[in-house]
Amino acid sequence: MAGSTGRPDPELFRPTVTGTPAYDPAPWRPDSNFYVAFFGGIVPATIIAFLNALRLHAPEAARRVLVAGVAALALFALGAYLIGTNVEDAEAARRYSRLGVRAGGVLVHFLFLSWLKGPWRRFEIVRGTEPAPMWGPGFGAWLVGILVQAAVTVALMEQV
């Protein structure tokens, strides 16, 4: 027979579909992390992007997010140390530090966004569930982030 696929494979025709959604828990819209990154900085942006990568079934992206997030935090700590050693005006030092948190957060956000674009597109094809709202986790990550970043800033600035 033309186009015959040969003997049927019984394994292929065994029911295997589960009733659970393909994405459970549902991922967050990666764009929304911008607000967390802008107001919270590197740490919350990394937390949200890392968890979102896991939700999007992208362990490789999650690993990259974690490595980049830690590297960015280390850079931020170095920056805070340098500000502490070079800027005498305490108010100016705090202002630079806040600017660093914000700029660093937005920078890493765009980096994470480029890594999560593909997995998010795949989610959009499969769907089966709506994206989860980011309000609660975003606020939680923001809270953790500002505490960690404040601790790093104070520790390094006070030391000098």
Partner: protein, 295 residues
């Protein structure tokens, strides 16, 4: 008696014509004229179920498919529609049951194989999905639905290059297939080729105006092609992150060079672009009745 069947045949022919034109309401009108003989014809139930499916009336579609299956429980076409209906209602195990029952009747039906492949792919079983899609391709290598499913599975598996190639090859064989236009457009949109992407999306919506998803794509394409949104094409193509980085680099570069006034003017321009990108797209989305998830 023969007049009754002639009337049924005429109605079925009309209904098939309207279904292929993407006019499901006309399909139902034609079937209403078929007379009592329609209740004994699996084909009439198939067309009714397909029309309700196009109209996204899942309960009516399920009822029509099940009524048809009461006449012929092994009709693989009715089982395919029933599977699609269950799938769209979110009951994937029931969809699988229907597709497998259809495949038991006709194990080498390319459409059933392709649909079942996509269902298991959505369930995360990409290996099995790939095997089923290959089987479908072996039966009907140039079928548009098979090409669409193979492309989507390749994409889900992370092989975006193969996904684009399969979609392009499918479109070369079936240039009038709306779903392949839609898929090709979505890939181009991802590459930032908004002009070409929206052309494909508009074509897909015009080929099958009865399909609600394709109509949505057409509306999105019109939104993207609105002249007010043209400035955003560049930002989309380059990426807002890169533009932000470039602005920071240029701003601090100019300041370091002592060109503070130019740096301030540049900042103002950048601010205008940012405000424009925050204000205009949401207003246009509202104008085109698009939700936040639509793009």
């Amino acid at each position: 008696m023969s007049e009754t069947f002639e009337r049924l045949d005429r109605s079925l022919a009309q209904a098939r014509h309207w279904l292929s034109m993407g006019r499901p309401e006309k399909v139902l009108d034609a079937l209403a004229d078929a007379g009592p003989a329609a209740t004994t014809s699996p084909d009439a139930f198939l067309l009714r179920a397909a029309a309700h499916t196009q109209l996204r009336r899942w309960e009516e579609a399920r009822q029509a498919a099940e009524d048809g299956l009461a006449l012929d429980p092994r009709d693989h076409r009715l089982l395919e529609v029933l599977g699609i209906v269950h799938w769209n209602r979110g009951d994937r195990p029931a969809a699988e049951k229907a597709f497998l029952a259809g495949l038991q009747s006709v194990p080498e039906d390319a459409h059933l194989l392709a649909r079942y492949a996509m269902l298991v792919a959505e369930d995360g079983q990409l290996d099995k999905a790939g095997k089923l899609a290959s089987k479908a391709a072996a039966v009907r290598p140039q079928d548009p639905l098979v090409a669409e499913v193979r492309s989507k599975i390749a994409y889900l598996a992370g092989d975006t290059k193969a996904a684009r190639e399969i979609s392009a090859a499918g479109l070369a064989h079936a240039p009038e297939d709306p779903h392949l236009h839609a898929l090709t457009g979505s890939y181009l949109l991802e590459d930032g080729s908004i002009g070409r992407a929206t052309k494909h999306h508009l074509t897909s919506a015009s080929i099958d105006p009865g399909d609600e998803n394709l109509r949505d794509l057409g509306r999105q394409a019109k939104y993207l092609r609105n002249p007010l949104l043209r400035p955003m094409w560049f930002i989309e193509k380059v990426g807002p992150g890169k533009i932000w980085l470039a602005w920071i680099a240029i701003f601090f570069g100019l300041r370091a060079a002592g060109l503070v006034t130019i740096a301030a003017m540049l900042s103002l321009c950048y601010l205008v672009v940012v405000v424009y990108s925050w204000v205009v797209p949401p207003l246009l989305r509202r104008y085109y009745k698009l939700g936040k998830d639509d793009l």
